[in-house]
């Protein structure tokens, strides 16, 4: 997912993990609250993984930040997070399927500075062979 996001949003910070420092635009990748549902088929054939990808557009709710977020929210085309993640639904053959199922708006506050970041949280469902 990191590679998919990096390919579309070259100016953004993406590590594929939670970010130590926030410098928007950036993407957090974390396990979703729904977690991992093991053993969807026999013999460790398929596990179901739920991820959340949090996109942070900019500090505050400026017009520019809102426009950036609008672009992230698009369902297709350039600037769409869903389209970027679903460009290769096998993630280079690592998983069997990937589906961005929904997105909700998020405004996050930095713990140390109280700065507000306008963003959006995408839910990603992945089916992958058990390892």
């Amino acid at each position: 997912m990191k590679n998919a996001l990096q390919a579309e949003f070259s100016a953004a910070t993406v590590t594929g993990y939670l970010l130590d420092q926030i410098h928007p635009p950036c993407f957090d990748v974390d396990i979703h609250e729904d977690g991992v549902n093991f053993d969807q088929s026999m013999h460790r054939g398929i596990d179901e993984w739920w991820f959340k990808v949090t996109a942070l557009c900019a500090t505050g709710s400026t017009l520019a930040a809102q426009k950036t977020r609008d672009g992230f929210l698009k369902s297709s085309g350039a600037g769409s997070v869903k389209a970027a993640l679903e460009t290769d639904r096998t993630l280079g053959g690592v998983v069997q399927s990937l589906h961005v199922t929904n997105v909700v708006p998020r405004t996050l506050a930095a713990a140390d500075t109280d700065a507000l970041y306008l963003g959006a949280e995408f839910t990603v469902r992945i089916l992958a062979a058990g390892v």
Binding site: D39, S41, M42, H43, R44, G45, I46, S97, T101, L127
Partner: protein, 139 residues
Amino acid sequence: MGYVLTDASVTISGTTVSTFIREVDVQMNVEDVDLTAMGATSRNHGAGLRDDRMTFTAFSDYTAVTGLDAICNPLLGSSTGATIVVKPTSSAASSSNPTYTMVGVLFEYHPIQGEVGAAAMTPLVFMPAAGSKITRATT
């Protein structure tokens, strides 16, 4: 003793398809023949013919040669059927891990089925080829 099914082994014509399988149901049935006669005070159930079947719910896969679709499509309505072996686990057959084997003909297969956003899955219903039934073995 309880038992959580996560590693059932399913092979079709020698090809292991376990990782596609979400649900497995091996049914060994005997028809219930009513032999009740006049004067009886309760039903007399006679054991009739065997009427076995194996049914599965499987994740669809269209990979050439090794995918479920490539394996199952030729078996639909096949006159000779295919040998299907099911075990509780993938371990070697034993007295505690018996095999259930049937030469089966595929009678139900849904190559494409599902609602938007859901994992594509298919039922597979195998009935015994003529003269066949499910046999249990421990080796």
